[in-house]
């Protein structure tokens, strides 16, 4: 018996980059986050080899969930081929040997910055959202320690107040993305800067969503079949972006969230924001045997 036989051969880093103690901490925090939907659980948040603010929170969760049989999809603003999504996907492949995919239906883990895919996620899929600012109360209370007490007291009056002020000043609720939403009737969370279009996809979903802010060191979750209700007044209904009737100039598909592409003549073209969903639609129209999953929105309306 030699010491060498008892140890594993030297490697530059652990499987999934993070060391086991970091993964264990993260798993415990994730479990707590699932147990208390919408509650922000503080965690140590290790440095990873990409810059803070570039998806380090989401990456730590993905690396913790990773196993050799995982199929990982990474999207940035809806696109798989965005440079940062490419970089993260490459890193996950490098340290975890996971299979990379662009197809929402094939993925077991989907790490996303600011979009939820248009195809419905299943119970066996986990959505990991990158979160720049985990605190919905930040506009009314920049101190995190005070905001934490306000969450404890469910003291959300000021959030309704700013929405009301927007209504009075602009005639409309001006909140664009990151629409504050009540989770499980108890904690208000920010759904991360996903468009309003995507918030209804979190409500009573089949899949688990984990939201992780690496820089701000907070993790929270929406477990499957949990209510997520945008903060609205009884007489002012929640409105998603006016994209119901826009048509993608590449795929000819309409009724989904679009990217607007300004044109020289002053007009705009639109293309599907969910890039691989667009690719699949094009492939299908060209006669390829492509399976397109059930979508949350049908004819531009959420079911």
């Amino acid at each position: 018996m030699t010491l060498q036989k008892l140890t594993r051969p030297w490697t530059a880093f652990n499987y999934g980059f993070l060391d086991e103690s970091a993964k264990r901490e993260l798993r415990r925090r994730i479990l707590k986050a699932i147990a208390v939907p919408g509650y922000q659980v503080p965690y140590a948040s290790r440095e990873v080899p990409i810059a803070r603010g570039w998806g380090t929170g989401g990456l730590q969760v993905t690396l913790t969930l990773l196993k050799p049989t995982s199929v990982v999809k990474v999207i940035d603003q809806g696109a798989d081929d965005s440079v940062n999504a490419s970089s993260i996907r490459k890193f996950v492949g490098r340290v975890g040997g996971a299979v990379e995919t662009e197809d929402t239906m094939e993925a077991t883990i989907i790490q996303s910055r600011h979009r939820i895919p248009e195809e419905k996620l299943r119970e066996d899929q986990i959505l990991v959202l990158q979160v720049p600012n985990p605190e919905p109360l930040r506009p009314v209370q920049p101190d995190m320690s005070v905001a934490r007490e306000m969450h404890g007291d469910a003291d959300y009056g000021q959030l309704w107040l700013i929405l009301y002020e927007q209504l009075v000043k602009a005639g409309r609720i001006m909140q664009g993305s990151s629409y504050p939403s009540m989770v499980n009737g108890r904690h208000v969370m920010t759904p991360s800067p996903i468009p309003r279009w995507d918030v209804p996809k979190l409500n009573q979903a089949d899949h688990l969503t984990i939201l992780s802010a690496g820089r701000e060191k907070r993790i929270f979750a929406v477990p499957p079949y949990t209510s997520v209700e945008p903060l609205v007044f009884d007489d002012v209904p929640y409105r998603v972006e006016d994209h119901q009737d826009k048509t993608c100039y590449r795929s000819d598909v309409s009724g989904f969230f679009m990217n607007e592409l300004p044109q020289d003549d002053g007009s705009s073209l639109y293309e599907l924001s969910d890039s691989h969903f667009g690719v699949k639609n094009i492939q299908k129209s060209e006669g390829e045997a492509i399976e397109i999953g059930e979508t949350w929105y049908k004819n531009g309306r959420v079911k």
Binding site: E25, G53, D80, N84, A85, S145, R172, G176, S177, P193
Partner: protein, 365 residues
């Protein structure tokens, strides 16, 4: 028509990275040594902010990043976090420090004496431009003192405490594994003393200076006096599994105590890896200021510790280069709606007014 293939993005980022590295050329062992030996204060600054004491790795990080400090600190932090925490070294008291520089602004002379040590404080800041013309610059030799300064020095604060000038707090005994570790736990507020000093120890030098300077200038009630500033080498002593304590080497450290002259003398403290006087004076001032009742935001503990974190602040700052077109589209939608609402409302009003008028005309007829 198909979407741009995914390879496009991947190829672009790969080539962009190659372009950056191509500008720096081949990194050799000689370059690392030149950086390490020629720029020790830069190495110190980076090691402090990375909270990783390893001059070779710091030099490598600087060389790889082409001197970009935030990139170098991130490289070291990302390496550090993968390393196991083997043990906790024995605590180092001020009297254990091999002190090379020690000054106090509070007294003309202090027990143990003022020791200037290596400093540019009183130098004339003149560029030796002759070097550019090929004349090497060799500094004048140091003439040793008649008597060498003692390697270790007493603590001035201990003398002040004995005089009853500064309140003494009993030292807490904490088991080594129970010492709070900022790199393994989240920073929460109110922060523990350990977390606060650890956070300041690895804070951004520039950020610490900016906030510390604002406090010194008047955004806050603290007008600090440097009670004692030290540049030293601290012995790293570890406990062997069989119980004996042995030295594993030394690390360069700086530390500062500042004292307030308000109602009573109060100490602010900061220490960091490496010799970095600006940072420890600024950080000790922030420590002192943050302990005051209702501190100004510039010295509020949460404000200071969050915003002087070099990896987090720099990362967030540069993340604004990432595409934000989905969030932008979402805001644009709301803005456009307000505009169309207003136009519709105005049009409605004109129609209504026109109708009113025609009714009046009818009545007149």
């Amino acid at each position: 028509m198909a979407y741009v293939a995914t390879r496009g993005g991947e190829r672009a980022i790969e080539q962009a990275e190659r372009l950056f590295r191509d500008d720096l050329g081949t990194i050799t062992r000689e370059r690392i040594e030149a950086v390490r030996n020629g720029l020790p204060y830069l190495i110190d600054r980076v090691m402090g902010e990375a909270s990783l004491y390893e001059p070779d790795l710091a030099a490598l990080a600087l060389a790889q990043a082409g001197g970009d400090l935030y990139e170098a600190v991130l490289l070291l932090r990302a390496y550090r976090t993968t390393q196991p925490r083997l043990t906790v070294a024995e605590p180092v008291a001020q009297t254990d420090l091999f002190t090379v520089r020690r000054i106090s602004a509070a007294f003309k002379d202090i027990p143990g004496g003022q020791i200037l040590g290596p400093t540019l404080d009183y130098s004339h800041r003149l560029l030796q431009v002759g070097v550019l013309k090929g004349e090497s610059y060799t500094p004048d030799p140091v003439i040793p003192a008649a008597e060498p300064a003692p390697a270790v020095q007493p603590s001035l604060a201990t003398w002040q405490k004995a005089q009853g000038l500064i309140k003494d707090y009993p030292a807490e005994t904490v088991a080594p594994d129970d010492i709070p570790d900022l790199t393994r736990e989240p920073l929460l507020f109110p922060a523990s003393r350990a977390h606060k000093l650890q956070s300041l120890a690895r804070a951004d030098t520039g950020g610490t200076l900016a906030l510390g300077y604002s406090t010194m200038r008047g955004y806050g009630s603290v007008h600090p006096t440097v009670n004692e500033l030290r540049l030293a080498e601290a012995p790293v002593r570890m406990r062997h599994p069989c119980g004996t304590i042995f030295s594993a080497g030394r690390v360069r450290v700086s530390q500062t105590e500042v004292v307030s002259k308000a109602m009573e003398l109060e100490l602010g403290f900061s220490a960091t890896f490496g010799w970095n006087e600006v940072k420890v004076i600024a950080a000790a001032t922030l420590d002192l200021a943050s302990n005051q009742p209702n501190p100004h935001p510039a010295s509020n503990e949460e404000f200071v510790l969050y915003h002087t974190e070099p990896v987090e602040s720099s990362g967030f700052c540069i993340h604004f280069k990432l595409p934000h077109y989905v969030t932008f589209q979402s805001s644009l939608d709301a803005l456009r709606r307000v505009k169309t609402d207003r136009e519709e409302a105005t049009a409605g009003k004109i129609v209504a007014e026109a109708e009113d008028q025609s009714e009046e005309e009818e009545v007149a007829l």
